[in-house]
Structures are given as C-alpha cells and as structure tokens.
Subunit: 331 residues, 2 copies
C-alpha cells in the first residue's frame, strides 16, 4: 500500500494525499477526512516521500526539452516561462539533446533543484514502447511529470497532446479528394508525434484503397537545404503533393520544387506542420497544420496548478489541430 493506492482509493491526486499528510490548509476538511479514513482503514504510514511532497516547495517548475534552438520548442518554453511566472512559479530549463543518455542526465540534474513539477516539452519523451521510458516512471514517483505532445502511461504522468494523427488524416483526405494520389510524406524523427502523423497519412491512404509506397516516405535531416538536396538526388521520385512533419521540411520541399521549376500548388501542393514563422517567410506562403502549441502549454499550466492545488487532473488531454490555409494548396 503506497501513496498511489491511497490516492486511487480516495479518488484524489497524490499531491492531495501529500497535503493531507502535511495538514495543508489548501485541502477541504471533507477531503481530509476521506483521505485520513482511507489511510487508517489500510494501515498506511506515510513515508518520507509522501511527507516531503507538500513541504519545501520552491515554487519552481523544471522544464526539459531536447533543444531550445528548435523553433517549436522555443515557442513552448517561452510560453511556459512567461505564464508560470504569472502564477508565482520560477522555471528552470535543461536541454537534454535527443539521445537517451542526455535525457536521463537532464532529468537527474533538474531533480537536484527542488522543483515542484517537471514539464517535458516535445514528442521525444513519449513513446509507444513503455520500456524505453521506465526511468521516467521512477521520476514520476517523486513528482508529477507533464508531457507536452508526448504520451507515456504511468502514475503521476500527465499528457497534453495535439491530435496530430487526425489532422494529417484529414489533410491527406483533402489531397485525395482534390485528385492528388502521389503524396510524399516527409518526417524527421520517430517521436510520438511524428509516428502519429505517419499513422494519419497511412490510415487515410488505406481508407481510400491506396497502398503506401515506402519510396514516398522519407526521413531527411530537419533542415531546409538538406531536404532540397535529398529530393534533387532522388530524380526518379515522382509526387504531386507533399505532407511534411515540420515547416522546415516543407520549406525544403518548396526549395526543391523551385529548383526543378515545378509550380506550387498547380503541379505540386505542399503542407507543413507547426505554423511557425518559417511558414510565412517562404514563397508561396505555406499551408500548415497548426498544432496550437500555446493551447497545449496553457492546458499544461492549468493542469499543473490544478494538481499542485490538490485536485485531480485527466492523464491524457487532446487538443484539436487547425489547418491554416495559405498559398501552397488550392483546396
């Protein structure tokens, strides 16, 4: 019988159990009575961890992202920083890189800093295979972990996700309805979000009876010239539209199409993801899936405050994406 079991039986968060243990004034008497009764019924003795949770709050949230030079992550970190300050919370940022070892190290370092909650920014922290992230579950045993656009099942882990799969499904279908059948899919990673996007693409093709051509699924480096050059090398590859998992990749495709003298969107349609500043810098300006990073961040902050305030939070919240139609598509 541990703090999670008590929380589950009482239908409250572990933070609430901790607050009850510490006799916090933030918890209602009714909730206190319920939790204390369940603790007594189950002979539960709070350990140091449970006692510590409510104590020594530094009003600090730890933020980890792979690389803050990434436009999408920078936007998220900036939003989190500014808005958590509004709640009186400081932020500590660590950049972990994309490698497993760096991620573990970043978490280890940030846990030394007396934080109240940990936010992991970006899909690189959630996977389908839980074994890859077992270590993150052990972190969640110490403090609540929030994943922004990542997903991992586990106690005290909370995800806010953009519905990337549905968004890519919908736009793939729009392309098919517009008569485009040879859709190139560009991705740059096997992150949770990237895999959902690929699924959306594959499922829409399947629903329309079109087999996936593996030659039309490419993984270039996430850099404009890298995409252009890769496509220039693949001269035999034909496609009438592009769905790219990031705006960088989509702009790279535009550079290729310009180099080849192909007209956008008449001959080839292009769709990016993220609705970043890049999508309005290029010509023609890019149609892009806005996965609403600010809404993801706002929802995460709301969840943090709710949880730290002693209430329960849904472990998985999904936000609908929004297609921003600009000049690289004609539907």
């Amino acid at each position: 019988m541990n703090i999670y079991d008590i929380a589950r039986l009482a239908d409250v968060s572990i933070a609430t159990v901790s607050r009850v243990v510490n006799d916090s004034p933030k918890v209602s008497q009714q909730t206190k009575d319920k939790v204390l009764r369940i603790m007594a019924d189950n002979d539960y003795t709070p350990n140091a961890f449970a006692r510590g949770l409510g104590l020594g709050s530094m009003n600090t949230v730890g933020i980890i992202c792979p690389d803050v030079a990434d436009i999408y992550m920078a936007k998220a970190v900036s939003y989190l920083e500014k808005n958590l300050q509004g709640y009186g919370y400081d932020c500590i940022l660590y950049c972990s890189g994309y490698a497993e070892e760096g991620k573990r190290q970043a978490v280890e370092c940030i846990l030394k800093k007396q934080i109240d909650a940990l936010v992991m920014v970006g899909s690189d922290y959630g996977y389908d295979a839980p074994k890859q992230n077992g270590w993150l579950c052990s972190v969640a045993a110490r403090l609540p972990v929030f994943l922004i656009n990542g997903w991992l099942e586990g106690d005290n882990i909370y995800s806010v996700l953009a519905d990337d799969q549905q968004a890519v499904y919908d736009v793939t279908e729009e392309l098919l309805f517009a008569g485009r059948k040879e859709i190139l899919f560009l991705s740059n990673s096997h992150s949770y979000s990237a895999m959902r996007k690929l699924e959306g693409y594959g499922n829409a093709l399947k629903a329309h009876g079109i087999p996936i051509d593996q030659d039309r699924v490419l993984y270039p480096e996430n850099a404009v010239y890298a995409v252009r050059d890769l496509l220039l090398r693949k001269r035999g590859l034909h496609f009438d539209s592009v769905i790219a998992a990031t705006d960088e990749l989509a702009v790279g495709a535009l550079k290729y199409l310009r180099a080849r003298g192909l007209r956008v969107p008449d001959e080839v349609s292009v769709i990016g993801c993220n609705n970043s500043e890049l999508s309005i810098c290029c010509e023609p300006e890019l149609t892009t899936i806005d996965n609403r990073v600010e809404v993801l961040c706002k929802t995460t902050i709301d969840s943090i405050m709710t949880l730290l305030g002693g209430d329960t939070v849904k472990q998985k919240q999904t936000i609908k994406c929004h297609l921003v139609r600009r000049a690289t598509t004609d539907f």
Copy 2:
C-alpha cells in the same frame, strides 16, 4: 579596501582573490603568495562575500534572456547550454521580458539559485547610459556577469560583442558604391546592438556626404507582416535599398516589395542581420550580416572558464561580423 581593490592591486580577478581566501588548490602557489602579501599589506579582512565566493559552487551558470522564442536568443541559449554541460556546468534559464521591472525580477530570482556566473543574452542588457543599469553593477559585486552582445562598464562585468557598427558601416558603403543612395534603415529596438547598427549606417552616409533622412529610419514591430503593412501604408516613401537590423524585418521588406511588384535586387536591394533560418526560407534568399552568435557564445564560455579558474579576462572582446551574400543584393 574591498575585494576589488585587492584584485586590482594583485592584477588578478576577484574570483582568484576569493579562491586564495578559501585556499583553493586551483590557484598557483605563486599567485597565492602575491595575493596574500597584498592582503596583509593593506590590512584586508575578507568579508563573508569574499569567503563565500569560492565556496558552495553548484557548478551552475545562470542565463537570462528577454525571450527565448526569439530565434537569435534561442540559438545562443542552446549553444551555451550544450557547451557549458561539456565543462560540467548546469544552466538555469530565466526569460526576463524586455521591461526594466522584469529584468530586475529575473536577476533577483536567479541569484537565489546558487549560481557561479550570470550570462545575459542579447543587447537589451547593455546601454550607453550606465545609470539605467546601476542595479546590474550591484549584481556584479556578488558574482561575475557576462553580457553577450551588450556593453556595460563596471567591475566584474564582461562583454563579448559583435562589431555590428562596422558591419553595417561596410555594407552601407557597399550599397553607396553600387549606386544606391536611398537606403531605408529598419530597426526594432534601441538596444545596444541596434544603436550600433544605426550608428554604422549614419556614419557611412556622413562619410559619403549624404545627410540622414529621418523618414528612412523606421521602427516597426519585429514581425514579417507588421513590416510589410507599415511599408504599404507609407506609399510616398521611396527607397532603393533596405538594411534591416534583423532577418524578420528584412523578410517583411521582401514581402512588401513582392506586394508592390518591385524586383529584388534589380530595383531594391535588401540586407538582413543574424543569418537566421529565415534568411534561407524567403525568396530571393537573403543577404545577411552574420554576427556569429556561436562565436560570441564560445568566447563567453571561454571567458567564464578562465575567470572561474582564477585567471583574468578582458572586459570587452569584439568579434568581427561576416556578410553572407545571397540573392537580395547584386554586389
């Protein structure tokens, strides 16, 4: 007689004096002897601050920038983070916003976190008027402060600067030699760096006997559409070239020129600053002044390590910029 006086008399950094006070093994016996002799000669008794400096190092560097969503700052923060880790230093990031009050608050918060040095990223922390930043001098009395592309004179404050003034002077002169006489200057702030760029522009015009036309110095918001729309509203304004203090502003000018049907660079040349990803996304691709943010960061890290290691560091180091010639100019 304080720790600065001792440091000055001994020709070492205050960190070295602190290390001597704390009998750190990192300081050579020769330096130790010299510092101790000067302390004895001057009846100097180290106070708690001097004793504390060398103690309780958390191997942590504090980083403050106005907004990490800014591409330039994100690049700097990312570089600092990654490379300080290589020296065994963790980083704590605070975003201060651009307002005075936010800056002071950020510094106050970060000083609570037991950091060994403070890095301020971006020109918004250095000014010509020292009175505006007197508070930063009092921070520098507690730990070394490093300004990246900002300048402030004071004990224990160290600046690494891009030579923005020279770079803009040179490119203005190139435009004049190429026969362009009506040069629009776009800026977005009155930061240290922005003022140096404006100076470079003004000085080059003056050197060629051309008076500055204040109508051709504009301060739009640092956003692509904002620049385009401002220029569209100023229909009477004529110019044959644009120098912009950021790539965002320059891309905004390109959007305006496209909307007006003006050919780039035949009718109007455009030059940006920062060599950001935006400069290769737009069409035509942007000629831009690379102020080499990674070199600025690398030099700053070298300075931090030298200083914390007990050696002296120059208070002002200047890095030459580099003009990246692309398709928006024809010289």
